[in-house]
């Protein structure tokens, strides 16, 4: 099912759809307020963009430098070409140590790789420890937002889910009480874990260190208790220098939630005493994107989610309407590079208003990239025949003055005399929630000719 059909389903629950839209718009406003308090905001964005562009130009060197320094600090570095290889490495690490209970903090990469089902099929209990991720995990779904995974659910639905899965009393809807119940539930899981897995926000080539950001403290809990810490990162997470963190961290939380900084910004350099740190560096299609001149900039993304929060289409259609694990504008740019046929509807799930590009902390020109994908999709003939034929006809009509005039007259006449239902049916859904305007008697050209002679 493509984005339009899934979005239509999401919108059937009007109350939820409205709350979804309002919640995200509120986050967008928080972001605006936070950004306005930073006088050098635009300079920061430009700097972040330039650092990412530089890093991409020497990514091979920085990855090697990162590996060298991380290894010197006692971490083990693994490389995975794709999700399958990544999953195999993680499972191998757990199996070698006989670990059966894994706690995870937020990692969109492991969602992308399908790690949870892979491990569960091999007898390992996986617990997502971010509250939002735990909610969607208990619900048997995927995050619908990269920063707020359960934003698509109402508090009532979460209360019902907790009642069913972790035994809270029925009818609990207070976010505070629900969070407290999850805290107790997750603390048991964290204390019983034999291994902890985290994503990576930044990997520092200069020091071999990793930075992991959370608000809940779940990454710190999950890595400070069990002896084994596995960190999974895409190749694009590496940054050159320790001091570069100042630039990215000043942008990240403000863009994501409007906080000046997330609560826990943890810097891991090597394993903790007596423990192990394994870092899995994953390609999974990223080198392909790096080689694509037009789309390379999408790899600059620091996963703040600002483009989702601001996108009028995302806010009104929900993350599950997208056919890829990363939804919203950035996901719609990334997904077609993996499979253009499967994700062909995503670049069209945008009004091209450009708001995503305006808020992006690393200045990815998202709406331009979406337009570029549309051109690719049309030129590769992925678009269904009906739409291609319609475009061909439109192109023919718009190129010829006389044809355009004649068709215009025909349409104006048709709209006046044909039954309204027929007209609506011809409009490809446009008139589903709108009234057609009353067509004018004559076109501007005819009016001009009548009053001024020939143009």
């Amino acid at each position: 099912m493509g984005h339009p059909q899934s979005a239509g389903r999401f919108l059937r629950d009007e109350v939820r759809a409205r709350r979804h839209d309002q919640s995200l718009w509120w986050v967008r406003q928080q972001r605006d307020a936070a950004a306005r308090r930073v006088p050098d905001w635009e300079a920061l964005r430009e700097r972040a963009e330039a650092i990412k562009a530089h890093t991409a130009s020497r990514l091979g060197d920085y990855l090697e430098e990162f590996e060298r320094h991380a290894t010197a600090r006692g971490a083990r570095v693994h490389w995975a070409r794709d999700g399958e290889e990544h999953n195999r490495i993680v499972h191998g690490l757990l199996a070698e140590r006989g670990a059966r209970r894994l706690v995870k903090s937020k990692s969109m990469l492991t969602e992308e790789c399908g790690l949870n089902p892979y491990l569960e099929a091999r007898g390992i209990e996986v617990t997502d420890t971010d509250l939002g991720e735990r909610i969607v995990q208990l619900d048997g779904r995927h995050p619908s937002h990269i920063v707020m995974p359960a934003i698509h659910m109402t508090r009532e639905a979460i209360g019902e889910l907790f009642h069913r899965t972790i035994g809270t009393e029925p009818g609990l809807t207070d976010p505070k009480a629900l969070t407290e119940a999850a805290r107790q539930h997750l603390r048991q899981k964290l204390l019983a874990a034999e291994a902890g897995l985290t994503g990576v926000n930044f990997a520092i080539a200069e020091t071999g260190g990793l930075v992991v950001v959370t608000n809940e403290g779940n990454a710190d809990m999950g890595t400070a208790l069990p002896p084994l810490h596995i960190a999974a990162m895409g190749i694009e997470k590496v940054i050159p220098r320790f001091e570069d963190l100042g630039v990215f961290l000043r942008l990240l939380a403000r863009s994501a939630t409007g906080q000046a900084l997330s609560t826990y910004t943890s810097h891991f350099h090597g394993p903790r005493p007596g423990g192990e740190l394994h870092i899995v560096i994953v390609d999974a299609g990223r080198t392909g994107l790096l080689g694509a001149d037009g789309f390379r900039r999408a790899l600059q993304c620091i996963r703040c989610g600002a483009c989702l929060n601001t996108c009028p289409v995302y806010r009104r259609s929900g993350g599950h309407s997208y056919t890829w694990v990363v939804p919203g504008p950035i996901g719609s740019v990334l997904a077609p590079s993996r499979d253009v046929v499967a994700h062909q509807t995503l670049p069209f799930a945008s009004s091209l208003c450009g708001s995503c590009s305006d808020v992006c902390p690393v200045r990815i020109d998202l709406h331009d990239l979406l337009l570029r994908w549309r051109q690719e999709i049309v030129s590769r003939r992925v678009v269904p025949f009906g739409r291609r034929a319609a475009m061909r006809v439109a192109s023919l009509v718009l190129r010829s003055t006389s044809l355009y005039e004649r068709v215009g007259r025909l349409v104006r006449w048709g709209m006046r005399v044909l039954p309204r239902r027929w007209v609506a049916a011809c409009s490809l859904g446009w008139a589903r929630q709108r009234e057609w305007p009353v067509p004018p008697r004559e076109s501007f050209r005819e009016l001009y000719r009548r009053t001024n002679g020939r143009p």
Binding site: V38, H54, G209, T263, T287
Partner: protein, 195 residues
């Protein structure tokens, strides 16, 4: 070829045009009253900042805090501030720290623009202390305050072991964007700003 070589050669074959690293100079904010700004931003992050002239007063301020008065199991890593009922350095397994009501930790510096403090993991017997305690008290010297993160990173040793910026107590807004303090980590964060 192995995965490492495959990936690195694909990265190098991508032909990304070269461009320079722009450096970190010329960014940052100015701030006249670092302590006031720090306290304001910490409060926005859900924490509480109390200014005290010296460690003895810090100790008194801590003893007045409800989190301390109600605490039965306390660990203090700052001599003279609070009285520890356990010595975390003598705890072998961090799991045994579960049930810790309050932990007092030292911070190396504070950042005015976001209310965060830098905690150096090398001064903690266990990393878990930061998150496993129900309540957290942080002692930081006022002269260590800096205006922004650029200044903070310039003062930190690049790659000096484990460390973290901590901005207020643990929190989440994962249920309908409604902010709840006390998700997985500490339920409150009191920062004692000394001097």
């Amino acid at each position: 070829m192995g995965a490492r070589e495959d990936i690195l050669s694909a990265v190098r074959a991508a032909g990304v045009p070269a461009c320079e690293h722009p450096g970190a100079a010329g960014l940052g904010v100015e701030c006249d009253d670092l302590a006031a700004r720090f306290a304001e931003m910490l409060s926005a992050a859900g924490g509480v900042c109390v200014r005290v002239p010296d460690l003895a007063t810090a100790d008194r301020a801590l003893r007045e805090a409800p989190a301390y008065r109600q605490a039965r199991c306390v660990a203090s890593l700052v001599p003279g501030v609070g009285v520890g009922t356990i010595d975390p350095a003598r705890v072998g397994d961090p799991h045994d720290l579960a049930g810790l009501d309050l932990c007092v930790v030292p911070a190396e510096l504070g950042v005015a623009e976001n209310g965060a403090v830098w905690i150096d993991g090398r001064r903690l017997p266990h990393r878990a202390l930061i998150v496993i305690c129900e309540h957290l008290a942080v002692v930081v010297e006022a002269p260590t305050l800096v205006a922004d993160l650029h200044q903070a990173y310039a003062r930190l040793e690049p790659g000096g072991g484990f460390g973290l910026f901590l901005a207020g107590p643990s929190k989440t807004a994962d249920i309908e964007q409604s902010l709840v303090i006390g998700a997985q980590g500490a339920r409150s964060c009191l920062v004692l700003l000394v001097g």
